[in-house]
Amino acid sequence: MSIAVTTKATRKEAAAGAIRKPRRANLFDTALGRAALQILAVVAVLGAWQIGASQGWISAFLVGAPLGIGADFFSGMADGSLPYDTWITLYEAILGFVIGTILGSAVGLSLWYSVFLARLTEPFIVALNSVPKIALAPIVILWFGTGLVSKVALAVSMTALVALIAAYQGAKDADRDLQSLMVSMGANKRQVFFGVVVPSTVPVIISTFRINIGFGLVGAVVGEFMSSKRGLGHMIYEASGLYDLNTVWMGLFMLMALGFVLYHLIDMVERRLLPWKLDSGRQQIQI
């Protein structure tokens, strides 16, 4: 025999056979609705820009015009120069980002091993970090030439210290209790390092990816500004010298697109590397 407790509300729901749908804030708060609004906003801005330029309200010479940018885009795609320039910049940025992140994280993590070394090097790290890395560009070009290496080196200089400082801080913040637990189990320093310190620093390092992928692009583009024959930075620099604003805009939009794609790529990497973080902390509370 079972005891059945049924309230009015549950009976009504059971009769309707329906589960209550989560309430929505508004009609557009769906993936499709948001995308529609976003596209609408872009189209509106570009439309106003184009109309303003073709009516002569704003100077097409100084600000360019969307149709001209589009024409440049198609001719650039057609002769293959745009994909090539984009690829060169992407290649430099990613190479610099990867090398800088690995180098910085490795040094930052290894500082955990020796408190003495960490204290010894701290002022130097702070000093290095406070130098605007862009200011290194002329020297980097003197040292590494005008080719790929100098752009990568610049991107590395921008990203490595960010990763280093984050990794060292993350390693210092690694849960003491987890470390104590391992020590009480008889673990040595190396086991504690790889068992607790490294895994708990990985999310901190990954959180620098988003900033650092941007810095990688900055390093690559600034290097191209200084001296180069290819790349989006070179394209923008050259076009601005010729007052070809449409090409400048096109370069900027391509950089924006690159940043956008890389950002989502990092999202994917994060999901892959941190499966244990997925279940918690993703959802914002509803207020």
Binding site: D175, D177, L178, S180, L181, M182, V183, S184, M185, G186, A187, Q191, G195, V196, P199, S200, V202, L274, P275, W276, K277, D279, S280
Partner: protein, 260 residues
């Protein structure tokens, strides 16, 4: 009844220094733990119970005193004890199975053998099917059960349990107390339990060591003679209440209304 002493602590002393101010915490701690003993350590909060554990576990060094383990003077029992705390301290990036494996990996047990043992333990404690779950997806009681398995699987000589159940609700706690008693009987373990819960101390332990306030020394030792098969049985034993009130008295807790 003659019992063999497993661990003997004599004159343990410890003070902490912060900003040039020296605070004596442990003044003089001496007690014995017998083979297959179950000893609860109670005392006012902040009296240094956890400090005693940290010294035994080798996470802290005492200023003075000796520890004799099965006739041999030792500085700590690092690697020979299983330490379990109030926080479950599961590694969030490890699955249940990997968490249970932790101690065996530290010890260097071949992975295959370690995994087999881990699965066996998980099955015994009713966690089959959760091997690949991450701790974030488990309830508090299950997490603490995983922590208990992680402690037991290393087959430690002594279990140091530092308020392991105090963050759990009463039902889960009663259940886990039962699991603990069964496991201790099954694996013939010695247990030292820190608790602020006198009820728990009486229900689980064979002996209770009462510590004084800071600077701390051992105030009293009580032998609990209760016929105990399960923690719930123990609580319904006629002598339970007497022990409870005696221990409350030791801690200067007023248990009778007329005392006010």
């Amino acid at each position: 009844m003659t019992q063999d002493v497993q661990l003997s602590i004599r004159g343990m002393r410890k003070s902490f220094e912060r900003k040039k101010v020296i605070t004596p915490v442990l003044a003089d701690i001496s007690f014995d733990i017998y083979e297959r003993d179950f000893v609860s350590v109670i005392g006012p909060s902040g009296c240094g119970k956890t400090t005693v554990f940290n010294i035994i576990a080798g996470l802290l060094e005492s200023d003075a005193g000796t520890m004799v383990y099965r006739g041999e003077t030792v500085s700590s029992l690092r690697g020979r004890i299983g330490y379990m705390m109030q926080k479950d301290l599961l590694f969030p990036w490890r699955t249940v199975l990997q968490n249970v494996l932790l101690g065996l990996q530290v010890r260097g047990t071949p992975l295959k053998a370690a995994e087999d043992t881990a699965r066996e333990y998980l099955a015994r404690f009713g966690l089959t099917g959760f091997e690949n779950a991450f701790p974030a997806t488990l309830s508090g009681g299950m997490r603490q059960r995983v922590a208990l398995i992680r402690t037991l699987i290393m087959d430690p000589d002594i279990l140091l349990l530092d308020e392991p159940f105090s963050a759990l609700d009463y039902q889960t706690r009663l259940y886990l107390e039962g699991v603990l008693l069964d496991a201790v009987a099954l694996f013939n373990k010695t247990v030292i339990l820190i608790t602020h819960d006198i009820d728990e101390a009486v229900a689980l332990s064979k002996r209770v060591v009462v510590l004084s306030g800071r600077p701390t020394s051992v105030k009293a030792e009580h032998v609990i003679e209760i016929d105990r098969r399960t923690p719930i049985d123990a609580r319904s034993d006629p002598r339970f209440s007497d022990y409870f009130h005696t221990l409350c008295g030791e801690l200067d807790i007023q248990t009778r209304r007329d005392a006010a």
